[in-house]
Structures are given as structure tokens and as C-alpha cells.
Symmetry: C2
Subunit: 221 residues, 2 copies
């Protein structure tokens, strides 16, 4: 269970919004804003000001009535809450199409997620260098995880191998997984998994296109 | 605004869960289940049965008291609701690392999202063939969108080009975008954008690792 410092259970949706606020604050700061209101933060994310205030209230009192939030302060606080005020060493398992694209994914590096180790079991891939990182043999996963001080693993292997890969990494004390394989992997208590399935975003679009309310037409048209 | 057939506003979170139910039903069916309860569907997604029933109730009455849902029926109904009971022609703009990985992304094809057109403005990429699709010149976007009957565009270009690309596609009557660029793009009413940022999932993991409640230790330990 994930709880805030003052004991509230925090939903996935709240965490997602914190990530968005963090980006909005960065954007605002880069454009010279030094204070920001909950309404402004809400508008940047198509939310209500009440939602913004509620999300932030789980973690403390950051704003000042009538003034709003100091942009830099709030950004720093959210970074701390999200645990991105430090760097995290990440391992990638699976150097296929998706995996190789992720090795060099700017957004990871910018947020402090450092790709330290890339593993595969394909002899054709082991030893190859992608974006400056050499692919190593998954057979040596224990040593690689230890040496690389890996805290988070990204799993980009075919569906039938995903559970086995995760099980092995859990044995190696990895406690957090971003899973790209199209299956739900099982993990013990205290281990966290997020599933990345980009088709789900496209489904949200096909849903929107299918269910949108057509603009009202007047009789005159 | 996206509304259900019976007039309810549907939240992003509900749409996301529908996508998950769809996958669970597929999984259940493949394993021989022919009926399923809201509790079973909930358990497969770490939700409550009440949540499952509420989400589905927006769209109609699918279950039978005491019996649950027919797996195949419910799957078909959710596919229709999500608009994935048909295929959608998709264009990709930007044939860089991420873009090239997406051309061949199984999950898109399996859900009926067909990559028909790949566009770039880089002379070194135009004419190259990736996974059987030739990269064409973005300068001809209008013709390509028309010829390809494109309904959804995936934007995988550097941040500074994303808004321009989206504006041009909106002019070409594309109404739905999956944006991989790390900026918020502005679109007119009636146009839908989803932002894909894989770092946000890693942030949810760093949040979980940072804020997890440690297992209770007894005095004996």
C-alpha cells in the first residue's frame, strides 16, 4: 500500500496528476512565472482548482491564501514526493524494437531514471552496443543488478517470457517494474508493477471518436 | 465532451478500466471461462465489484443477477463501446527511435489500429522502409491522410515540432492524436489528444518505492 506522509492512501490517479503538475510547474517556471494559483495549475491540466488543492493537501500545506504557490518551491516539493529529487538506476530486459527505443528515451533521463544495464538472452544481441550501452547476458542478471545498483526494471520481452523474467528479478531484490509485455505479471507483496500498454491510449481515442457528442445543429443549417 | 449512449459523462479513468476489462475478458475466454462475475472481473484488476458494475452500468445492463456476465457477450459489447469492433487507419509522424518501434507494435495491430502511413521531413528517412512501410514526405501530408483514410495520428517528433505537426494534421481533418512529444499540444474543440509519456509510469514506481509503508516489524525481530 502506498500512503502519504500524513497517512492518506494515495490513488494512482493522484500520482498521475502529481506528475502532470510537476511538468506544468516546469513549463511555467521556464516561461518566467514565479507564483501560480491552483486555478492556473488546474487550467493547464483540464482539472478543477478544488482537485489540485485536494491532491496537494495529502502531502502538506504548500500554498498561501491569496498568493497561490511559489512555482520553484512547489516543483521541488512534488519532486521529493514523487521520489524524483534523486536518480534511480534502471535495468532494461529485452533489447527488441521497443526496448531499443527506450534505451535512448530522453524523458527517462530528464526525470533522473538512468538506464544502467541492458539484458537479453539472444546471442545475436548480447555484446551489441545501443546508444552507448552494451547488451549483457540475462544469465548473469544477479551480478548485473548488484553491480548496477538497480532499483527499477523495465521489462520489454515477449509475453511468454515476462513472468519468468520478473520472478528472477524479484529474487535479485528488484522491487519495481515497468512492464511492456501484454500480460499481467504476478508479484509478491511489497513489489510494484506498472503496465505500459500504448494501445490503451489509442483505445481512449477510438472511444472518444465513437462516442463524441456531435455539435448541435440548428434547424437553419 | 465524451458521453455514453445514456447521457453520462465518462471519465478517462472509466475508459481506461473498460480497456482493462476487455483484456481480462479475452484472457478469461482464452482459458475456457464462459461466464464471469463482477467480483472476478474486479479481482483481475485489483478493483471492487461495485466499481466494475458502476462502470458498465453507464452503457447498459449487461449482467444477470446470480449468473454474472457472458464473457463473449460482454467482450463484444465493450469492443463496441470502445470503438474497437472495427479497424482504424493510423498515421505515424516521426520515424525516429520511438516512431520506428511503434510501426511494428503488436498491440496496436491486435486492437485494430492499422499503421497505414508513416511521414517524416528528414530527407535521410524519406523513402526508407521500416517493417514493410515506406516513409513518405510530410510535405504531402494532406494527400497521404486522404489516400490513407487516416482517422488517428501518432505524433513522435521532437517537442519543438509537435504543435506545428498537429496544427497541420487538424487542417487535414484528423481528429484524434496520440502525442509522444513532451509538450502539451493545443487543439480546437472536437479534437482529442492523449499524451503518452512513459516517464510518468516510472514516476509512479519511484513514488511507490519512496512512500511505501515498511512491513510492520515485531519487537522480536
Amino acid at each position: 500500500m502506498v500512503v502519504s506522509p500524513n497517512g492518506n492512501k494515495i490513488s494512482d490517479a493522484t500520482v498521475r496528476r502529481l506528475s502532470k503538475y510537476y511538468r506544468s510547474l516546469k513549463y511555467a517556471y521556464d516561461r518566467g512565472m514565479r507564483t501560480i494559483s491552483s486555478q492556473e495549475l488546474a487550467d493547464m491540466n483540464t482539472l478543477t482548482a478544488a482537485q489540485v488543492r485536494k491532491d496537494l493537501s495529502f502531502f502538506g500545506a504548500f500554498g498561501r491564501r491569496g498568493l497561490g504557490y511559489y512555482v520553484a518551491d512547489l516543483q521541488r516539493n512534488i519532486a521529493r514526493i514523487l521520489g524524483i529529487n534523486k536518480t534511480w538506476n534502471v535495468a532494461l530486459v529485452g533489447a527488441g524494437n521497443i526496448g531499443r527505443a527506450l534505451i535512448d528515451y530522453d524523458q527517462f533521463r530528464q526525470q533522473g531514471f538512468l538506464m544502467k544495464v541492458v539484458l537479453d538472452n539472444d546471442p545475436d544481441k548480447i555484446g551489441k552496443v545501443y546508444h552507448g550501452i552494451e547488451v549483457r547476458d540475462f544469465a548473469n542478471v544477479e551480478e548485473e543488478v548488484k553491480k548496477g545498483k538497480i532499483k527499477i526494471a523495465i521489462v520489454a520481452v515477449p509475453a511468454q517470457f515476462a513472468q519468468g523474467v520478473v520472478d528472477r528479478l524479484v529474487e535479485c531484490k528488484v522491487r519495481a517494474f515497468l512492464n511492456f509485455a501484454p500480460i499481467t505479471v504476478q508479484v509478491p507483496d511489497g513489489v510494484f508493477v506498472r503496465n505500459e500498454n500504448m494501445a490503451i491510449e489509442l483505445e481512449a481515442l477510438s472511444f472518444a471518436l465513437t462516442n463524441r457528442r456531435e455539435p448541435r445543429r440548428t434547424l437553419g443549417e
